[in-house]
């Protein structure tokens, strides 16, 4: 299966986590001096694959072949020794150390005599490494004094130190451009190309245009499998996108027949809303029964906007009104008091208290209503919890089961139940189907339709454009902190993804 001259090959690799088959027999090979692009939606298995290659996870089945030898990678150090290096999207340099110290971190032995590190030699060597990537920075500077693009180059310089031990390298670039400006990306790409005689690269990104620009060959992953492989020269964005999504859009997947026209009552309104360094001049209205989707790439400001509406990052410009009264949420408690419920991206961190039972999670935001003379009415709490478990069809051994033991989809139902129980009239859905399998996703879509039909206003950011369009009544597109486009998305008028993408990138 793998090409004969491959420097690195994965052969039929599988990886299963409790409840999820993350990789279903993935085969990928990398040839000398090649830049291989790897694309796929969130949850397609890219990050699992990266973690297997960097020794963080071990595969359940299949083989990793380096050169012509099958290997086992059980730690980052082992992967490094075999010439596999990882460059992460951000913050993988220790900012409290100098650039030179970072370059040789963990490899100081060659500069050490009688236990004493010869810093002068180390910095001289680090300067040579920095020269390889054409980065003109004093290695004695602290890493925190560098901009993100330079830090990325330092990481590559650090990866190149492995040359001395491992010969030809394979460097994994995991979303390296997500924090960079366009000009910086150009520089990064030209440096990466210039290094092709020294190393092969695996380039993971969600920005399809960049993948096409940089890569020689592209793999497309979907649901834990490679679904397409093509030379970059033969690929274009629609083709990759088609492969990533993998199915022609079925209207019923998003329960469009259940989509009701929104009411007239304005629940949430933003006028000139801004937060320094994140977004500005945001105008929108959200009506009862409306689902408002916000599309945009990382860095578009939509994530920060979502956090503002949920009470985590108060805005510093413009006005926000809930049911006609102006608000500024200093903390989530104030948002909750205004009837806002937040379904977060990190379900297991911010969505649920995993180590508390289902019942306690459902009643957590609204315990006041359950209390009499300061005491919680335990019987009533149980009744309420059972009621919600039945209504939302939560599959759980019982209301006393810890949320830890529920599947992702059922956990998400509990999160929803807690806000419905708290009578939230505005729901902020922050990537509500992340990490869920297809069946669970469909159940979530159905519930979203139901609460929407009951008059709850929903603001949605999603992992995929398809989901945003499929669920929403209205779609806003954000780029660089402002709204660049808004469009109707009622049934029958759903915009095509290709029409929105130009407004996003």
């Amino acid at each position: 299966m793998s090409a004969p001259d491959a420097v690195l090959a994965l052969v039929d690799v599988t990886k299963t986590f409790p409840g999820v088959k993350a990789l279903k027999g993935v085969s990928i090979d990398v040839r000398p001096g090649e830049i291989v692009g790897l694309v796929g939606e969130n949850g397609a298995g890219k990050s699992t694959l990266m973690k297997i290659l960097s020794g963080v996870y071990q595969p359940d089945g299949g083989q990793i072949v380096v050169g012509d030898k099958p290997v086992r990678l059980t730690s980052a150090a082992e992967a490094n020794a075999l010439g596999i290096a990882m460059v992460f999207q951000e913050q993988s340099l220790l900012t409290n150390l100098t650039v030179g110290e970072n370059v040789y971190l963990g490899n100081e032995a060659q500069f050490t005599r009688f236990g004493i590190v010869d810093w002068r030699r180390l910095y001289a060597a680090a300067a040579r490494q920095l020269a390889k990537v054409a980065l003109d920075v004093d290695p004695r500077n602290r890493a925190e004094d560098l901009d993100f693009a330079s830090r990325q180059m330092v990481e590559i310089a650090k990866a190149l130190t492995l040359e001395e031990v491992a010969g030809h390298l394979v460097i994994l670039l995991d979303e390296p451009t997500s924090v960079l400006e366009r000009a910086e990306i150009d520089v990064l790409f030209s440096r990466v190309r210039a290094l092709k005689d020294r190393a092969s690269f695996i380039f993971v990104s969600h920005r399809l245009d960049e993948v096409l620009e940089l890569s020689d060959r592209v793999y497309v992953m979907k649901d834990g499998a490679v679904v397409a492989e093509m030379p970059a020269a033969e690929a274009d964005i629609p083709k990759l996108h088609q492969a990533m999504v993998g199915r022609s859009l079925q209207a019923e997947y998003y329960r469009e027949s259940l989509q009701r026209p929104p009411g007239t009552e304005i629940r949430l309104e933003a006028r000139g809303l801004g937060l320094t360094g994140a977004y500005r001049d945001i105008d929108f209205t959200l009506r009862a029964g409306e689902i408002l989707g916000i599309a945009g790439v990382i860095g578009s400001g939509r994530e920060e906007l979502t956090r503002t509406l949920a009470g985590f990052a108060p805005h510093d410009a413009g006005t926000l009104t809930v049911n006609g009264s102006p608000v500024r949420f200093a903390n989530p408690a104030q948002a909750v008091d205004s009837g806002v419920g937040y379904i977060p991206r990190e379900r297991r961190v911010e969505g649920l208290v995993l180590f508390l039972p289902v019942s306690a999670n459902i009643t957590l935001p609204d315990l006041g209503r359950l209390s009499r003379w300061g005491l919680i009415d335990g019987a009533e709490e149980k009744r309420i919890a059972r009621d919600w478990v039945t209504r939302l069809k939560v599959r759980t051994p019982g209301i006393d089961a810890l949320c830890l033991n529920l599947s992702g989809g059922n956990q998400q139902k509990v999160v929803l139940a807690k806000w419905l129980n708290a009578k939230a009239r505005i729901l902020i859905l922050d990537h509500p189907t992340r990490g869920l399998d297809v069946g669970a996703k469909e159940e979530v879509y159905e519930l979203v339709r139901t609460v929407s039909a009951e008059g709850v206003a929903v603001l949605l950011t999603s992992d995929t454009l398809e989901e945003t369009i499929g669920l929403s009544h209205t779609v806003l597109v954000m780029r660089d902190g402002t709204i660049t486009h808004r469009t109707d998305a009622s049934p029958g008028h759903k915009p095509a993804q290709v029409d929105l993408i130009p407004h996003m990138v």
């Binding site: 009470g311 989530p332 957590l364 919680i376």
Partner: protein, 319 residues
């Protein structure tokens, strides 16, 4: 060793381990020293446990939400000094005054922890220093023995009711109050939620900082009450009266099965833990172990109990 501990920790046995340990210890000590099992000795044991239990109950609230209070022995000592100094003038009002001082100290420690975002162990370590200093200065660095007149105010501590020492009854009242607070109020629920998952609790609209401050206020107040009872039993106040009580109090909480990482625990477990500590102490006394050297055992028991009860999945990086 680690895998053995994991076995115990992962087992359902863990929940009943403290109680089983307590019963086993009582049987062992009772076999070695039959006097131990007589009602009078057991009542003495209960009386001796009361102070420790009250201190431990207070810090249980803090540990439940994932913090720690290292100032409680200083607070209890300061409370004894306050009572000893003000009893002649204030009479019974000296007791609420001492408890109010404890609550105030807890409030300040809680505010330092939440507003200034200082880790609780360092905030309370520092607060302990301030309290110790206050106690030393106000007492003139000596212990204050109460006069015969003042001892009249201490009857509610030293007396008995139907043959049961009042301290035991006070301990039971504390047990009931603390149990209700912890198991049946919003504060108790929020504490458990914060300890089990602070980000999710915050995102659910719970005023996390307020709950934390309340926990520190309760811890300070309970420590002050413990100091009052110590004053009553010894008929004197001293700036170092409770100096040896920090470790046993925290050990009692952890030995009872409350996880140092927070979220899991109860006052009942703390009661069991406090009784274990008391029985161990009596057992060691029977064996003739120096009272100060007993700290060797408590230190070891503390570390072992933490090792068994700690939830490692909640701390990816152990610092």
């Amino acid at each position: 060793m680690a895998s053995f501990l994991r076995h115990i920790a992962s087992d359902r046995v863990r929940q009943w381990l403290p109680l089983a340990t307590l019963i086993l210890l009582i049987v062992i000590v009772g076999t070695l020293e039959p006097v131990f099992l007589q009602p009078a000795t057991l009542l003495d044991l209960a009386g001796d446990t009361a102070v420790l239990f009250i201190l431990a109950s207070g810090v249980t609230f803090v540990i439940m939400l994932g913090g720690i209070d290292l100032s409680l022995q200083s607070m209890a000592s300061l409370s004894s000094v306050i009572v000893a100094l003000t009893l002649p003038r204030l009479g019974y009002a000296a007791f609420p005054a001492a408890i109010a001082a404890g609550a105030l100290a807890g409030l300040l420690a809680g505010l330092a922890h939440t507003r200034l975002r200082i880790p609780s162990f360092i905030a309370t370590l520092a607060m302990g220093g301030v309290l110790a200093s206050t106690a030393l200065v106000s007492s003139g660095e000596r212990s204050i023995t109460l006069g015969a007149d003042d001892r009249g105010y201490l009857g509610w501590i030293t007396g008995t009711l139907a043959g049961i020492p009042n301290v035991v009854i006070i301990g039971l009242v504390v047990l009931v109050v603390a149990h209700i607070l912890q198991a049946h109020t919003r504060f108790g629920r929020y504490s458990a939620a914060i300890g089990a998952g602070e980000p999710a609790t915050y995102a659910s609209g719970v005023k996390v900082n307020r709950q934390k401050v309340i926990a520190f206020v309760l811890s300070g107040g309970f420590a002050a009450l413990a100091g009052i009872i110590l004053t009553g039993r010894l008929a004197s106040g001293s700036p170092t009266l409770a100096a040896e009580m920090l470790l046993p109090a925290i050990a009692a909480v952890v030995v009872g099965g409350t996880a140092i990482t927070g979220g899991v625990g109860s006052i009942w477990r703390t009661l069991v833990g406090a009784l274990i500590i008391s029985v161990v102490r009596i057992g060691m006394t029977f064996l003739g172990v120096n009272i100060f050297a007993q700290n060797i055992v408590f230190g070891a028991v503390l570390v072992l109990a933490v090792a068994i009860t700690i939830d490692r999945s909640k701390i990816p990086i152990v610092k």
